[in-house]
């Protein structure tokens, strides 16, 4: 990610942000998560929404999703996937989030309070973007294609 942004932004690229007041971008969220009291409310601030945060964030989101494709596609897509169950009101949104976050963190880290903020942000972004949209173009083992 840094390499891609470095071409345009140099040392000011994510995640270095040289001379872009990096101290103002540290909220203690990782420290709180490590202490067992994770929170995301500190990141809810319109001032954070800038090209130099949203562009790398979008890239991280898609790169992470791509890494998780083998795990998430069968979980979410297909006739018995979470999207179908959610659309059919067989599972609730909180249940879907717990299953997605657990799958994400079991595959790539640990299902722990420390990693939970990242998993929750990924899951909420995924669901707000749309599970149907995620499944478009992805085939599951049970598909006849």
């Amino acid at each position: 990610m840094h390499d891609a942004d470095f071409v345009r932004w140099g040392a000011q690229a994510f995640p270095t942000y040289q001379n872009l007041l990096p101290d103002d971008l540290t909220f203690g969220v990782a420290d709180l998560a490590a202490a067992g009291t994770p929170t995301l409310t500190l990141l809810d601030h319109p001032a954070l929404v800038r090209e130099w945060t949203t562009r790398p964030g979008l890239a991280v989101f898609h790169a992470y999703l791509k890494r998780l494709d083998d795990r998430l596609t069968p979980l979410i897509c297909g006739d018995d996937g979470l999207y179908a169950k959610y659309a059919g009101r067989k599972v609730t949104a909180p249940e879907v989030h717990v299953l997605i976050v657990t799958a994400i963190l079991t595959d790539t880290a640990t299902p722990s309070a420390f990693w939970a903020p990242l998993g929750a942000l990924m899951s909420v972004s995924l669901m707000r973007r749309g599970l149907k949209r995620y499944c478009q173009g992805r085939s599951t083992p049970g598909d006849e294609s």
Binding site: F27, A34, L43, D44, T54, A109, S112, A116, L121, R128
Partner: protein, 77 residues
């Protein structure tokens, strides 16, 4: 629930999801559609940009934290 999950993990996730769902999305950001196209908004028509910004800031902060405080699960697989 996965056997390897910490006790209370499910409640932690639900609380964090509630916090994330409450993010402010009702503001306009420059010419976002030009920058992001269809990635700008979600299925509900609301902006996704606060989430992408939060992912970047969080990833950066966790990376810095793990540099100072390594853990057995420091590296994403």
């Amino acid at each position: 629930m996965n056997d390897a999950a910490e006790p209370g993990f499910e409640d932690v996730v639900k609380a964090l999801v509630d916090e994330a769902m409450a993010f402010r999305t009702d503001f306009q950001y420059l010419d976002a559609a030009t920058y992001f196209g269809s990635e700008e908004t979600g299925a509900d028509g609301k902006s996704l940009l606060p989430y992408y910004a939060a992912i970047a800031v969080l990833a950066r902060e966790m990376h810095q934290y793990l540099d100072r405080n390594p853990r057995p699960d420091s590296v994403l697989r």
